[in-house]
Amino acid sequence: MSEPLLTVENQRTAFATGRGLVRAVDGVSFTLERGRTLGVVGESGSGKSVLSRSIMRLLPPNARSSGEVRLGGRDLTAMSEKALRALRGPEISIVFQDPMTSLNPVMTIGAQIGEVLTRHLGMSRKAAKARSVELLASVGLPQPDVRVDQHPHQLSGGMRQRVAIAIAIACEPALLIADEPTTALDVTVQAEILDLLARQQAERNMAMILITHDMGVVAGRCDDVAVMYAGRIVEQASTEDLFRDTRMPYTSALLASIPRLDDPPHRKLEAIAGRPPDLIHPPAGCAFSPRCRYADDLCRSQPPALEDAGRGHRFACWRPMTMEAAE
């Protein structure tokens, strides 16, 4: 079998802070094939964004990173910043929650897309401008020929996110990381942007990592889902298996705590008591043990490893749930 498009091997990313070392990503491994979508879900602070920046090799100076990230056979962790820059765009790119993270407020939209096209694809300025209009049209921006000469502040939040996506896919990357691309947007705009990403992905056979805290967003749109807690993947499976054959108590508790549209009004929600652990002083055993209703002494003393139980269903738990327990 040929090598997967992306292989992340025991990635660890920690930050030196005044209070101590924050272990934001603590031994994450997974692979992703071409054309597939992996959803990464987790609550705030679980390490989703640090993981995406670790894959992109876009880490701040106080970060300490180890592990291996291979994209199309190349080890990104061993590459120079210059080589990485050449890769970002044509091979791998990212869309952030706040589109202004990647947009330049003082440049026109056309100039920003054009820059990417001339730099990576060697297009002439004229060709780049024409291609920019096409790209803006393909991401559903109304009046692309007018918008191309406007600045980001002249657009709504949803339109800016469309522009950020146009820039991210301009060089047809093999992998797109979308880090909460719709969290700041209204539900109807979210639906449009997620549809747009799905369409672009299918047309270009692009692989995608869709990062979100919303189980609803991954349910309809991902082939596989990985659940993160305290810097680790605690469960990963095909979307179907993750929702229907949940094995890890945290995933199960997370699913039970979501209000659903088909619930009767005033149903009591199953809240998870407590809060996620401090990443400077994580619990000794399973990071979820202080909040887990099944925790025993083993859970509290030894961290469970992420193991594959077959069909690519992985979970890290000493006392995994069975179908009956989940009922």
Partner: protein
């Protein structure tokens, strides 16, 4: 029956209104004589002990409507009656007195608490403002209230907001809002900034406290599932106008307004068996509230729009008991 009377009857909350909002308008003047039409004549009623959920997307005017109910600031026009009192007529000391009866909690729990003050003083502040009890008596009330919202009073009293998580800060805001035993609690996106596991804790807490204190709730959110969970009745807004009001079950089972249907179909469901349906809405942008479309404000995005929709503003009319819609061509 006149049209106005019929509309009133159709709006009537099941058990007589405790909060009764009529034809409320909120406008913000802009330079050059233009204005933002944030809320353009909405009416709704909430019965005592009931929760009305107000849903809509950004810019639909739900927060402006909530603030106008609380007279923060007073609406541009319209009536807001709470119990027997017409709030828009109150001035000065009388308004201050009435304020004890309604409180609000906000989306960003951390930003809504003064970072330099201790929790006991933050929660005691409303008591202090109305001059109730001495210090010791006030702190006793604070401690009781903190216990009720699920915080350990002994540990929390002396500390400052930054030592608490977002969920805990929202509990503190709730304690502060309830310490004067208000009748009406307005919650503006109270769980939107919280993680789902914590969101569930806060929603459960609000439900418990509502029963314990006999509160009437106006609950604002963009999240339909959250709104359905806590509400007895739901009102949907779009661009400053009311689209539809109904009891919480009916509006989800049988949406009558095309916008309600769109919102429902866009809400991501945590169920892999249900693939997201294509959005039931014309492509385009939300029109500006400075210059809203004539007739029905949803018509520029509505897949069912016809000529009449541009010419005539649809009035709220009754479809079934407790279910009203403002659309010329309601669904079903």
């Amino acid at each position: 029956m006149t049209v106005q009377e019929r509309i009133r009857e159709d709006h009537a909350a099941p058990a007589g209104a405790f909060l009764d909002v009529r034809d409320m308008v909120v406008e913000y003047p802009l330079a050059g004589g233009a204005k933002v039409h944030a809320v353009s004549g909405i009416s709704f009623q909430v019965a005592k002990g009931e929760t009305l959920g107000l849903v809509g997307e950004s810019g639909c005017g739900k927060s402006s409507a909530a603030r106008a109910v609380l007279q923060l600031p007073r609406p541009t026009s319209g009536a807001v009656r709470l119990g027997e009192e017409e709030l828009t007529h109150l001035r000065g000391a009388a308004l201050q007195r009435a304020r004890r009866r309604f409180q609000m909690i906000f989306q960003d729990p951390i930003a809504s608490l003064n970072p330099r003050r201790r929790i006991r003083d933050i929660v005691a502040a409303p008591l202090e403002i109305v001059g109730e009890g001495d210090r010791a008596a006030r702190y006793k009330r604070v401690a009781e209230m903190l216990d009720l919202v699920g915080l350990n009073a002994d540990q929390a009293m002396e500390r400052r907001p930054h030592e608490f998580s977002g969920g805990q800060c929202q509990r503190i805001s709730i304690a502060r809002a309830l310490i004067l035993r208000p009748d009406l609690l307005v919650c503006d996106e109270p769980v939107s900034a919280l993680d789902v596991s914590v969101q569930a804790q806060i929603l459960n807490l609000l439900e418990d406290l509502k029963h314990r204190f006999g509160l009437t709730l106006l609950f604002i959110s963009h999240d339909l599932a959250v709104v359905k969970h806590v509400s007895d009745r739901v009102a949907v807004m779009y661009l400053g106008m009311m689209c539809e009001t109904a009891d919480a079950q009916s509006i989800y089972r049988r949406p009558a307004h095309p916008y309600t249907r769109t919102l429902l179909s866009a809400a991501p469901e945590p169920d892999p068996g249900r693939k997201p349906a294509p959005l039931d809405m014309l492509a385009g942008e939300l029109p500006s509230p400075v210059n809203p479309p004539s007739g029905c404000r949803f018509r520029t995005r509505c897949p069912m729009a016809q000529a009449r929709c541009a010419a005539e503003v649809p009035q709220m009319r009754r479809l079934a008991p407790g279910h009203a819609v403002a659309c010329h061509f309601p669904l079903q």
